[in-house]
């Protein structure tokens, strides 16, 4: 079973370019349309369950806005 993961997106840095949305293999990232950052962007966020903490979103993010968390392996 894949590990559980989660991300946090620094809304001060995110520019809603959607590269993470496109790149996420689990398709769990989306822009948060109900939110607008101080710079006028809809920030990216984890929209659904299923994040495995693979880190691909952080890999493509031009703003280094994403922090990746992953469950510690048992044992």
């Amino acid at each position: 079973m894949p590990l559980k993961g989660t991300i946090s997106v620094d809304e001060n840095l995110c520019k809603a370019c959607e590269l993470c949305v496109e790149a996420c293999p689990q398709h769990v990232i989306a822009l948060e349309n109900e939110k607008i950052t101080s710079r006028g962007f809809h920030p990216a966020h984890l929209a659904q369950d299923g994040c495995t903490g693979c880190g691909i979103c952080a890999l493509v993010c031009p703003e280094a806005a994403i922090t990746i968390y992953r469950e510690k392996r048992a044992g």
Binding site: S8, E18, A23, L46, A64, T67, R70
Partner: protein, 260 residues
């Protein structure tokens, strides 16, 4: 949605220390951000933060000195390799790198970059190729593709009148002084990973005193290409890769043995 407690989790990836978490002036989706991040990650991993001096050039990345967390200078257009040479020659134990765009390095800067590579100057050059002059609004650059429309080639680059694009890696790799020359791309996760490895090897080349190193990074410019960031990555893959093939144009034997 299940709420996960991050206190039970480990951080797998966090903001690099060598990058200041300042909102940048780069456009949304611009590859400059990815390139900056990769350089910062490599500097962190190699623990070079207090040994490195960066040389910013002229272009969108003129202000890159604001975003990195270490010493920087800023050079006139095209002259970064000369400025880097001046610093490296008097502080040879420092890591010195330039960060240059295609207008800076291949238009006004051809004299300086060819001379630096020819001399085998022990510096590292990070070369951002997005096929246009970005900062000034999207004019034709030495790397603009044949037929590509820009603000100064509005009907598309006509090679009869405006000549052919320059391929920096092939040009410089032919010189004995060049020790590590590689072209990578930043358009998708797999290529970004490979780009990071190349950047690492370039800095390793310098750290080991092996000569001139350069990594050309094919990059998107969504604003001047008039494409969304996602579509810009697709355009790069479709149009730029055929003209600018990815690969290692020159690898010093000691570097090819290195595992990073």
């Amino acid at each position: 949605m299940a709420v996960l407690d991050i206190r039970d989790m480990e951080i797998v990836y966090g903001h690099p220390k060598s990058l200041i978490d300042l909102n940048t002036h780069y456009c949304p989706g611009c590859s400059h951000g990815v390139a900056h991040r990769l350089i910062a990650e490599v500097i962190d991993e190699m623990e070079l933060g207090d040994t490195t001096i960066g040389v910013a050039s002229v272009g969108c990345s003129a202000f890159s000195y604001s975003y990195f967390n270490f010493d920087f200078v800023q050079a006139p257009h095209g002259r970064a390799p000369a400025m880097a040479t001046g610093i490296k020659r008097v502080r040879p134990d420092r890591i010195v790198f330039t960060y240059q765009g295609d207008g800076d390095m291949l238009a006004i800067g051809t004299g300086e970059i060819v001379a630096a590579a020819g001399r085998g100057e022990n510096i590292t050059v990070i070369f951002i190729n997005n096929a246009n002059f970005g900062m000034t609004g999207g004019q034709m650059a030495p790397t603009t593709l044949p037929g590509m429309k820009t603000t100064s080639s509005q009907n598309g680059r006509d090679v009869e009148m405006m000549g052919y694009p320059l391929r920096a890696c092939e040009l410089l790799a032919s010189q004995d002084g060049a020790s590590y020359i590689a072209r990578r791309s930043l358009h998708d996760p797999k290529n970004i990973r490979m780009a990071k490895k190349a950047i690492r090897l370039a800095f390793e080349t310098q750290k080991r005193g092996l000569g001139f190193s350069m990594v050309e990074l094919l990059s998107t410019c969504p604003t001047n290409w008039h494409l969304t960031p996602i579509n810009a990555t697709k355009w790069l893959e479709e149009k730029m890769l055929p003209y600018y093939p990815l690969g290692d144009m020159k690898v010093h034997p000691l570097i090819s043995e290195l595992k990073v």
